[in-house]
Symmetry: C2
Subunit: 371 residues, 2 copies
């Protein structure tokens, strides 16, 4: 599984640029240029003019829930989000023993499709405690040379409304989860201020980043988002707080959305979208103009929440551009960039790219242009 | 290219049902049953338990415009529909000589992906007259054993506003196009009554079916749709009139949409959607309950209108279900059914299916269930 960390790849087009060679030594890009001379004995890969991309970043998934690789499971939950939570809870005991194995299979599958970094939410709650967190920590420790997996301890089944969860979130962060999560502070947890105070206090104590699921729509979600921006500013956590989904941006009046986007830019709060089929998708051009980072994920893949998905981040970038009605190359490239630069910013990766000094993770694609 | 017309396929699951064998003789399904005995010498195909589907139907595409198979073409038109029409017109002379070849390549590609029937719109207008129609008529005549292609003579560049087009539409129908098309009778052509009268009069004289592009949104589109239903009833054309896109159904008040859907059911007017990314998609469950046929197409594939698409109808059915937020198997199957039964109704095919007596066009898919 472990890829070579020294090699030269010849005749590739980095992000669609003119053909060149790229030399990777010790896992880092050391030189770029046509006809590059490499030390004797360096493994050479013939790129045959293919497009070269940096590794792709799946900034939002749920490795602990996936049924990827298991037999087809007819969707059992009702049409609303709150009908999926009890079904998720009900079937979890059967799935728990296979968590590490299911997650590992999906990680390796995503790696085959060019994903080098994965941020996965992982559920904690009093009934099963840190079992899923422990399984994913164990799984990622064994992924030598595979994708790098970051964990968000996630209160899927409520935080304030599910006593004991707050302490588990903190224990998860101390055990190795890089981020603490939250979920719909008003609609699911009933007290936005107290929910967010708990999440941010955890981050302050443990040094974790923050990634909050915000499905809340309209003004309820807008109020939650504004509170997240306030707290991020107050704690100087710019660049370390993300809001996943943020459907409210597409369901409030345009001026209100604009004010929220400005607040996010000012506070350094990013958005992570999965390009849903029938919920609002953030307008990448508007976000870019305002200076808000947008990252892209898959969300759940064949789990109790959704029967869709195969972990292909290039397809997901296409879906994001398609959902936005983007047609011009430079617009479509914004969607791909959400899966590269956007994800790198959210995950705090300084070395994701194809420049000299970046990590030598290079994806070759048989395509004419990034679009 | 021509597939065998007599064979037995063993151990397949028709639309997910229990494993069985299917005997095809002379291109028609003659018998079904496990352990079927076939005449000596009949070619046997081992299905290995795969899912069997009838051939898929692409009920809306534009074979004459596609750049599929040509080098990548960065999208040149602006964001609005009316900016694409002049660009389409401008680049057409360069594309015209290769129309038959481009269309043929795309048809064969779609056939490889399981499509057996294609309804393609084809542009007519005074500047190039019937050149595109002639090219597609010639192309389909040479597609022996390939997909069956039906043509809709289409006034892409206006009907009333582009004098001479009406006569060309009629000539196209007499030359072999099965349907006459129309486009945004109010917004593009400026006079909905006169536009529709011209289209329906053509159909009455030539015996053609009708398929009208209706991008018009809100009440303007609703008024056009109501007029189409009225004329369909008045001329007893139930089952022979389709409206492509019908975005207005998703942009008027719910009660108005309901009244339009009822009018469509009563008149026998179908909808053809392509599951657009950022325009409304018809709610299949509501349409089914009302008795309105919904068919599925790809719309343009890598052309001046869109850089997307590869002609895969299974992916398109997935996209339709995804856009509708459908998660349950029976809901997702409605989207697949739009690409089978819906398309068959719109194209007037009585023999598309896997029952005895149906055409022996069987697609084997390595999947557990239709969903």
């Amino acid at each position: 599984m472990k890829p070579p960390d020294t090699y030269v790849v010849r005749n590739v087009r980095p992000l669609g640029a003119a053909p060149t060679d790229i030399l990777v030594e010790g896992g880092v890009i050391k030189a770029r240029g046509a006809g590059l001379s490499a030390p004797a004995g360096t493994a050479a890969i013939e790129g045959r003019g293919r497009l070269a991309l940096p590794g792709l970043i799946n900034a939002h998934c749920h490795l602990d829930k996936t049924r990827f690789g298991l037999p087809w499971w007819p969707h059992a939950a009702g049409p609303q989000r709150d009908s999926r939570i009890p079904v998720d809870r009900e079937i979890r005991p059967d799935l728990m023993p296979s968590t590490a194995e299911r997650a590992r299979r999906l990680c390796l599958h995503m790696a085959e499709l060019g994903t080098t970094h994965i941020r996965s939410h992982v559920d904690v709650e009093p009934e099963f405690g840190l079992a899923a967190v422990d399984a994913l920590l164990e799984m990622r420790a064994g992924l030598e040379g595979g994708p790098i997996v970051e964990l968000v301890a996630f209160p899927q089944f409520g935080l304030l409304t599910n006593p004991g969860t707050a302490a588990l979130l903190e224990a998860a962060c101390r055990a190795g989860a890089e981020c603490v999560g939250g979920i719909d502070p008003s609609v699911i947890d009933g007290d936005a201020e107290a929910h967010l105070d708990t999440v941010f206090a955890n981050a302050e104590r443990t040094g974790a980043g923050i990634d909050i699921h915000l499905h809340e729509s309209g003004e309820v979600g807008a109020a939650s988002l504004a509170m997240i921006c306030e707290r991020t500013r107050a704690l100087s956590m710019a660049g370390r707080v993300a809001v996943s989904h943020a459907f409210c941006l597409g369901t409030v009046a345009d001026a209100r959305a604009g004010a929220l986007i400005d607040a996010m830019a000012e506070a350094g709060v990013a958005v992570v979208t999965y390009a849903p089929g029938n919920s609002p998708v953030p307008d990448l051009k508007r976000m870019e103009a305002a200076g808000v980072t947008v990252a892209l994920g898959t969300d759940g893949i064949r789990d109790v929440w959704t029967p869709y998905g195969d972990g292909d981040m290039l397809e997901r970038a296409m879906m994001l551009a398609y959902r936005l009605g983007y047609r011009r190359d430079e617009d479509i490239e914004l969607a791909l960039d959400a899966a590269i630069t956007g994800g790198a910013k959210v995950m705090g990766l300084a070395d994701q790219g194809l420049a000299v000094g970046c990590a030598g993770r290079i994806l070759l694609v048989d395509a004419e242009t990034p679009a």
